[in-house]
């Protein structure tokens, strides 16, 4: 069983992979990138929800920190959701330039966000939730996306 940190870090790489496939498709033909985009959007949304509905909740309950790092991560999730939504619109209107402008912005936002999580938040979560780690990972894995 992987730890919370390992599990979520691996999921970041999974999302990166979907991102790369999506950009690759969009580069060849923006019209054909729709399904790849949806796969990426779903994987990312699932990741956000695993954090927001499971891990952050457990972390906040344990540490009492509701206004700290988790609030900031939720805020950045909102920023990313907004960009992903706009990327979907760019694909619909087949606007390649707009799409890549947005994907470039999302990429950097996402990566610096992941870095903060992997360097700090996951490490903190692993320390505070070490006993509950298997249960938390289990819950994240079996979660149904809303």
């Amino acid at each position: 069983m992987s730890t919370i940190k390992e599990y979520l870090t691996a999921d970041h790489s999974r999302c990166d992979e979907f991102f790369a496939i999506m950009e690759d498709k969009a580069n060849t033909s923006i019209a054909d990138a729709k399904s790849a985009f949806e796969e990426f959007a779903q994987a990312t949304e699932r990741h956000f929800q695993m954090e927001e509905r499971v891990m952050f909740v457990e972390f906040e309950a344990k540490t009492g920190m509701t206004e700290g790092p988790t609030a900031m991560m939720r805020h950045e999730h909102a920023q990313m959701r907004n960009l992903i939504k706009q990327m979907g619109e760019a694909i619909e209107s087949e606007d390649k330039d707009k799409f890549f402008g947005l994907s470039e912005t999302l990429m950097i936002l996402m990566q610096q966000h992941n870095m903060k999580e992997e360097q700090m938040l996951y490490t903190m979560a692993q320390q505070h939730l070490s006993a509950e780690s298997p249960r938390v990972v289990d819950m994240m894995e079996s979660m149904i996306v809303e």
């Binding site: 991102f19 950009e23 900031m72 909102a78 912005t105 950097i108 990566q111 870095m115 360097q119 700090m120």
Partner: protein, 429 residues
């Protein structure tokens, strides 16, 4: 507006890195004009005053400023630590570094005692202040990763480079120590290029290549050992250079080998990257690895040619390697910072990163810059090339200046016109 503070709370104010970034190209333009009005045979000697002045307009004015600006921005993201009072401190040290650099250029160029003295005071104040607050922040880091380790090592080399630089400047004020000048200058430049600049870039590459281009991650050996191996090489080189110069080529080969390995690794990682996009920043990384390879080998061979080619080595490494990567990274960092800060304020209809800098203008800037570097190298044999290359360099840096300012103007315009103000995306379900 409570949410607003969450990310800006951690990130430094946008002005802290930007003031350094905006100023850097200006010093490069100054360096370009000095090259234009200088003679090729004078610049062929690394110890001529003209060479020293031009070099420092670039190393302090461009490289140093970009490095300091980036450190204020990167430490919170990479290491989760804030630089204490970053806004005030970066402002004060920025002012003294700008004034100090200008006084130093004037002081050395016109051999003016008073300017050199002022420069020494201002530069030491600015650098000591900046380096010590960054060091204080690093001391608070809990989870050291490879990049933060590399940054810390680079900072140590940086501190020594600055100290030696201050001593060197002092030898122009008080002639008594002038006899040590060449020995110290040699160490100062080697530690500055490989220890301060080179190690910082290696550390940043560990993060940036996988992050921006979805390139494969660096192997654990690279991340854990390479910085240490290079640092040991630099210390051994220092002692062999001072006490047993006949053996110093071994340490040189050691250092150059690892940088060459780094250059080829960068090239391979970029080839294996998952993102199909090839923009000017990728080109900058690519040419930087070519220049680094050439520069490293020439640095070793130069040993057998009575150091005839050391100026060419400096062009290849300082310009081709370090400057290239920094310019390339500016093209990513500045649009992102502008976007990030505007977005965090709640503005939604803002240009994307790609719309902030004209891509074609960035390409023109790239080609003029690379052409000028190649020209400078060949000006070694064909002196007439110096003027043309200097012109090409000036134009490329003027375009860079424009490209750096353009996103900042967008930032100001959006803040002023307030196109929309939509926090609805941030409502928590």
């Amino acid at each position: 507006m409570e949410l607003n503070g969450l990310s800006t709370d951690q990130a430094p104010p946008i002005s802290a890195p930007l003031r350094f970034y905006v100023t850097a190209p200006l010093f490069a333009i100054i360096a370009g004009f000095m090259m234009l009005f200088s003679q090729a045979d004078v610049l062929m000697s690394r110890y001529s005053l003209d060479s020293i002045v031009i070099t420092h307009a670039l190393t302090i004015g461009f490289l140093g400023f970009v490095m300091l600006g980036s450190l204020t921005q990167m430490l919170p993201v990479l290491a989760g630590v804030k630089i204490p009072k970053v806004d005030t401190i970066s402002k004060i040290s920025y002012i003294s570094l700008v004034a100090g650099t200008i006084f130093m250029l004037l002081g050395l160029k016109y051999e003016a005692y008073i300017f050199n003295t002022l420069a020494m005071l201002l530069l030491s104040f600015g650098f000591v202040m900046m380096i010590s607050v960054i060091a204080m922040a690093i001391l608070k880091v809990k989870n050291f990763n490879a990049t933060v380790k590399a940054m810390s090592v680079s900072l140590v080399f940086g501190a020594f480079t600055v100290l030696m630089g201050l001593f060197l400047l002092y030898t122009y004020i008080d002639n008594e120590y002038a006899q040590y000048r060449n020995v110290v200058a040699n160490i100062h430049s080697v530690w500055g290029i490989f220890g301060f600049g080179g190690i910082l870039i290696i550390g940043v590459a560990f993060q940036v290549l996988p992050m921006f281009y979805v390139a494969p991650r660096f192997k654990q050996f690279c991340k854990k050992r390479v910085v240490l191996l290079i640092s040991v090489g630099l210390v051994i080189w220092l002692f062999s250079n001072v006490f047993a110069d006949t053996y110093s080529f071994i340490a040189k080969a050691w250092i150059a080998l690892f940088f060459w390995a780094f250059a080829t690794t960068v090239w391979r990682k970029l080839t294996q990257r998952r993102r199909p996009i090839s923009d000017v920043t990728v080109w900058y990384w690519r040419v930087a690895s070519v220049f680094l390879t050439l520069g490293s080998f020439l640095w070793i061979f130069d040993e057998y040619f009575k150091h005839e080619y050391i100026v060419v080595v400096a062009i290849l490494l300082g310009g081709g390697f370090i400057l290239s990567i920094m310019v390339g990274m500016l093209y990513k960092i500045i649009p992102f910072l502008v976007w990030f800060h505007l977005n965090a304020m709640g503005y939604m209809s803002i240009p994307t990163m790609n719309e902030m800098i004209n891509k074609n203008l960035a390409k023109v800037q790239f080609f003029l810059f690379i052409a000028s570097l190649v020209g400078f190298v060949f000006a070694f044999y064909i002196p007439i090339l110096l003027k043309i290359s200097a012109l090409s360099f000036i134009v490329s840096m003027a375009i860079l200046q424009y490209n750096v300012i353009a996103p900042i103007l967008i930032y100001k315009r959006v803040k002023k016109t307030k196109p929309d103000f939509d926090m609805s995306a941030f409502t928590i379900k």
